[in-house]
Symmetry: D3
Subunit: 322 residues, 6 copies
């Protein structure tokens, strides 16, 4: 059981009545200033879906992940750790700015800088994929280092120059990121001819879902294409719709649970992960399994980050046995 | 049965096989150029919900209304007419522009001008309420006449100066309209203190739902506050959520079917209605009754418009007995 | 706009980035110790549904009310007040004890005593109706005064001696309460022959929904049957299922929004209300209107309590104009 | 509590373990041969929806009513009776015949004759409205008496000569019935011009919903148009969609719970009711209130039938004049 | 982006306002006479579900596929083609005839002949599986050639002699087809003992899902059992319910996306495909992934057909590089 | 087709009208005393979910399985048998006792003893997993034999000493069982550190899902860890959520259909299975595939039991060829 501080510590409550009552944070972990200071990972919920195309509602994604996270088992049986002990702090939802997608991206960037400046690892919960541009922009500003690669897990290339009258669309986010950092794309199974040409022209390391399906050995080559430092952006539609139907633009033929987590574990063991995001959850009312998968994916990332070999920011203490 | 022209007229089809097969237009009415020319009413579907706040998904409203309209009975028993005979033409969905809400408003204005210039009455299907500003702006540009009043049926005042960082929000649409035309608001039951003060300061004719509930006589005074020419904007949340749960921001204590249609009939009999909209339908999957109500409301408006006493554009022929 | 304190007050955040980001409390109001101290009303969420009979899931009621409350307009147009200014504090969800319903009732009683001892008015959010017994028991223990009546709004008499092998069932809650305080029951339209006999034998003031429907004058007599001090328990199935389908045991022929709120206003004006509860919300996935109605009902209660004539605890300052 | 016979009477079961376990019959009442013999009312579930037009799924109506009926309170507080004591027997679902709607109508007729020949009152649960023709046909064959009127509660006139290429459609059921018996139609708010003309030409007593809404006094005249013997057919879409959204073709502006039950009570007090049906329930997954309304309506009918003119069992045989 | 002709070509519209607004056709492709003439593939939507057994609602399948198809990427990354360029024309929904299933089959046959006579390849969207008999019958009449095999992908054998009182049921469709053409059945995992015996007696090439699961090599033998010319009928329940839950009779243990598309590609490369159908989609409200899978399957078929080696009707122009 | 006895055998019904009308039992099989006597398997539905944690509603599981079972094909193609011929009798739902979980466990134990004493194999349908303790307790009391192993298929270890204030929780069921019999756990992918330690300390044969995924050979070793006599408890969340989303606590990375059924077949061939249960189905409204999977799993168990090598109770007659 996770031990929680309560605001009632100094009040006289019979039997410590509310001590287990968990706040609406990731796993119900504490949300006070002390918790922020000692946290290693900071969750940034961004309930924005202004440019979503097909099924609306990814604004409800962050909340659904947080709600489902309250049912997570604190112990991760795979790594034999309790990742919450490293400190996972949940920020309040980032307020939406509707004036234009670009201004919302800027707001995410400011939030990202706030997290990075405090020496934390940001994990953003979306919300639509365009927001990734904001967090990647904050990395660009914060780190002088150039050797960062963005690992892009998605069913879609997201490499359009413009979509629905704007270059600031979730369908263009990888294109915008490409202007900042090198990209490695995994799981793609929907793209335009123009995107296809761009991939070839720019020689973007590109791993379509169908190829990974036919040649499992390809999985091993992905890590090799990454620089020492990595940002991971996960559009949840990279998963097969059978395990993740709760996305706005599902595409058949996607990846499985062990494939994605296996890849993430490899990357965290061999590279420095500076930040991540889990985007595009559009909860289906009455269907909780996909929300829980997303929450467990966040926690798996925490577990893998916890264990990783190197780090830009040193771990203060060994938490492995606490 | 509605008779339909088909594209197969000149092809040899056994038994006129597809003649009843209705296209996905309002009531399945024809969508060719001839139909456009003879139509008196033009339906403009605007599947945009970029600034929606609570429940997302009003982008699906126009489609749901059109689908439900296919089940409408062509005959209107109340007026003893068949309103479809006056010609109801459905435009394709207006493409969404995501760059900013303001640009989408401009696009709606262009579409409105297109309809008005061809001498048709526009009925917009939303989509979010902010779009009303586009259609009202097209009226402002098209008509030199100044004596137009906007009748605003809504649960919310929509009179905020700004919301979520923008003056172009559905929560501000009545405030923006007020900069163009006088306003009469009916059915309101949610507003801010600032909006409340504005209503008093500007002496906006204002009919809260609770007052209409207590003093039914108030209904009669609404028409008197309207100028000769009227634009009617209906935020579907003006209805009670019992009959219209499929909106993004439902408010208890709303109006009933006979109250709203009774009011609309009075207005159409006594004033010139230059355009209307039915906004904010957010379909609930698996629940068709509210979608059908919205479709029938559109058709009721057509029936009332059909019968109305005067008209800026004369009716060419008497359709009453056709 | 509600002004919120944030935990980031002492951190350097560009543009006060998160200041609007609302926590998952009623209306997103502050949840720190300062907020608790200055609050007049304390919300107690009890996500327990261990003895529910028909449709399971009232455990999700408190969360759904809190989520919907975030969309409430801070200003109440009926009373022309902003009730949140009196201070509304949301406790964390009361942890569930599954060993037996009776032990859970005891836990609610302890929570109620905690609230009462700090001089606050409790408003419980359910969760199943049996929990009311816990809160009423805390009143019994806290107040020496005997002249308290429990006003019971419900579709069901809840007067069974035992149900499904236990006297601690939601179907027995009014019977258990009757052992503590006099009862006035309003809106009932389902009861057993035995309950019917008990009502007559004990001369319980009893207002079936059908009678209120036929003789509206009866509404006025309800208040007269109440003592000076009142506890109000609202089983949401007292409403008609058209406005409140999201209950475990819906019954046709129930009360309307203005009927229930009109009664509550009268009571708050003429009696001292020591506590209330809103029970038995079982959210229907994808249908937000009933959740919002429940949230608005809570806020209406706050508005009425705010304005009431007398009070066991005097109001420190006049908040009417703030 | 309803006492039930069990098949385990002669087996040695500790503590009469299963005695409360209710079978899947109306209210979980016994389904053995003894129960059939002593029953006065026989429920006939007909899960057929072969000619349904808009929303499919009325085949699931009978099952949903039976499931919901298990939550009914045995005691009817309005009549102060326990209607189940007169004996309510539930037949197994009538097997569907898909070859043609006409053959399914014939099958219903045979089932109706089976019930009538055993001296029972049939209450059919639908399933689509066309099936009513089968049960009315069985009355025509069974009773020599000619003075039977069919009371038709519906949102639609159902008076088309033919629909979708067949005279055997739910849209034509009243027209087919009219060939057998006089008709009185109540609650109609959707019809074709041809149906409208037919009503006038044949002088069918016709009570549109809008007229009942404006002139409540009309309700009293309905009974006067009925002959001594009556068959009641209820298309559930006669109700307003706010209380009954679970139909295939909802129409706004319908009747309320107390209006319909008030009318049914008057008829049962003043006329002989020879049979009834409750048709067109199309359950909405996850929404139980409308199913329960339909079940309670069936039970209300039993209560009214129970109380008519004189009773308290045993009714010997001739039910025609009771 | 797909270029679309609009009816407004000759009207003066500012900025070509509606040019992107897509009609409700497959992928929003043009639906005028010119489009019909140049199309190679013709989509025939058949919204009929008169004989469906378990879950009703396959009538909504065609519409759901068409709606989802609007989100398809025009470019097919696997074949590196843009299949829409070969011309895909969507007919209006075939009007339903309810008089009997047999008459509806006849209507489909007439529609099939209409398509075949114009030299197009029909792709039918269902709707229930029985309708396949209509399209296969049109092939039988149109082609003198005898060497056609029907490839049947399904979870069920559909080989019953009769079901629910009729030989014209979706449960009998393969039996009826067998009277016209040889059959190859793939993916079966539910059949009766009688069907099992028939398969052996008639030596029907039969590939149960479990065998394909255990011996992947079997996949290669399927094509060998097909004659030069092939009709492909796909009952969507052939897929595993994890990827395709939206069918009326789901069966666990079905096929995957790459298995089915891999097989279809092989067939299109090595055989002449004269027509296809995608049947039995019963959309689940609020769950769009299965509808999209069905739409993408249709488009995959178009891509494979586009590329195929031989053809009864020569391709006029090489579209491969356009 | 399954032949059914009807209660109408001695009544004069035209054309044996209701003979196919199936009762609401597993597969609609007879529910009379004769059927009980000749049955080999007895289905025990236990609609209890008092201690469920995450998503409520497993009380609806038994009913959903029974409803779905009516669509099962009587013939099992894998074993080439018709398992229903061995006799499958469905008891009425076990009435719920809400006083405490422990008392409900006791009630299940009594029901289990009733079944065992009549020489039948019990298959329990849940309802929550804690109920397994009741049925296992009945085995403990009934069989003197000590060599029984409980095979536990689950995503969760369920080995907590206590949960939510009680040792009688579904989260503790395996721990309670361990006090009675040895345990073999398969498919686990969520457990606490304490549970993990207990597994090691007690050397419980433990097969996490991830290991089975990586080393398929492990499957073979499971049977070797079982004693001659086996009780099988299946928490449906052992399946991957893609095929079984309808559970209260879904966990990604679970087992597939052929994996689970393959294991069950092996066990039934090599061990004596004395009883089983299928627990934790929480139906998702409108989604029938998971309910059907659970029903087919029950029937698969019957098929495997039917065929098994040895038996504590000899099979009276060879049913293999009937
Ligand atoms: Mn994507
Ligand atoms: Mn993306
Ligand atoms: Mn509004
Ligand atoms: Mn509005
Ligand atoms: Mn109640
Ligand atoms: Mn209650
Ligand atoms: Mn009707
Ligand atoms: Mn009808
Ligand atoms: Mn099939
Ligand atoms: Mn089939
Ligand atoms: Mn489990
Ligand atoms: Mn378990």
């Amino acid at each position: 059981m996770i031990h929680r501080r309560t605001m009632f510590a100094d009040l006289e409550i019979p039997g410590n009545l509310f001590s287990e009552g968990s706040p609406y944070t990731f796993m119900g972990l504490p949300s006070d200033a002390e918790a922020f200071k000692s946290a290693r990972v900071v969750i940034l919920p961004v309930p924005y879906d202004g440019t979503t195309t097909f099924v609306p509602g990814t604004r409800e994604g962050p909340r659904a992940i947080i709600m489902a996270s309250r049912e997570l088992e604190p112990y991760d049986e795979e790594t034999e750790t309790e990742p919450w002990r490293q400190g996972i702090f949940t920020l309040p939802e980032l307020p939406v700015k509707i004036s234009s997608p670009r201004e919302m991206v800027e707001r995410v960037k400011q939030a990202g800088l706030f997290i990075l400046k405090h020496g934390k690892i940001p994990i953003m919960l979306g919300g639509e994929h365009l927001m990734t541009l904001g967090l990647v922009s904050s990395l660009k500003e914060f780190y002088s280092s150039e050797n960062i690669t963005v690992l892009h897990l998605d069913a879609h290339a997201d490499l359009r120059e413009e979509y629905q009258g704007s270059p600031w669309s979730n369908a263009c986010v990888a294109r915008r990121i490409l202007e900042l950092y090198p990209l490695v794309s995994v799981g793609i199974r929907s793209l335009t001819r123009e995107e296809h040409d761009l991939v070839r022209r720019k020689a973007i390391p590109f791993y379509p879902a169908a190829q990974l399906h036919e040649k499992p050995a390809l999985w091993n080559s992905i890590v090799e294409n990454l620089s020492d430092n990595v940002y991971i952006t996960i559009d949840l539609d990279v998963f097969d719709p059978s395990v993740m139907p709760s996305v706005g633009t599902p595409e058949p033929g996607g990846l499985g649970w062990y494939e994605v987590t296996g890849l993430l574990k490899q990357i965290c063991l061999k590279r420095n992960v500076l930040g991540c995001d889990i985007m595009e959850l559009k909860p289906i009312p009455g269907m909780v399994a996909p929300d829980f998968l997303a929450a467990k994916l966040v926690y798996k990332l925490c577990a893998y980050l916890y264990r990783r070999k190197g780090d830009l920011r040193p771990l203060d203490k060994d938490l492995t046995n606490c």
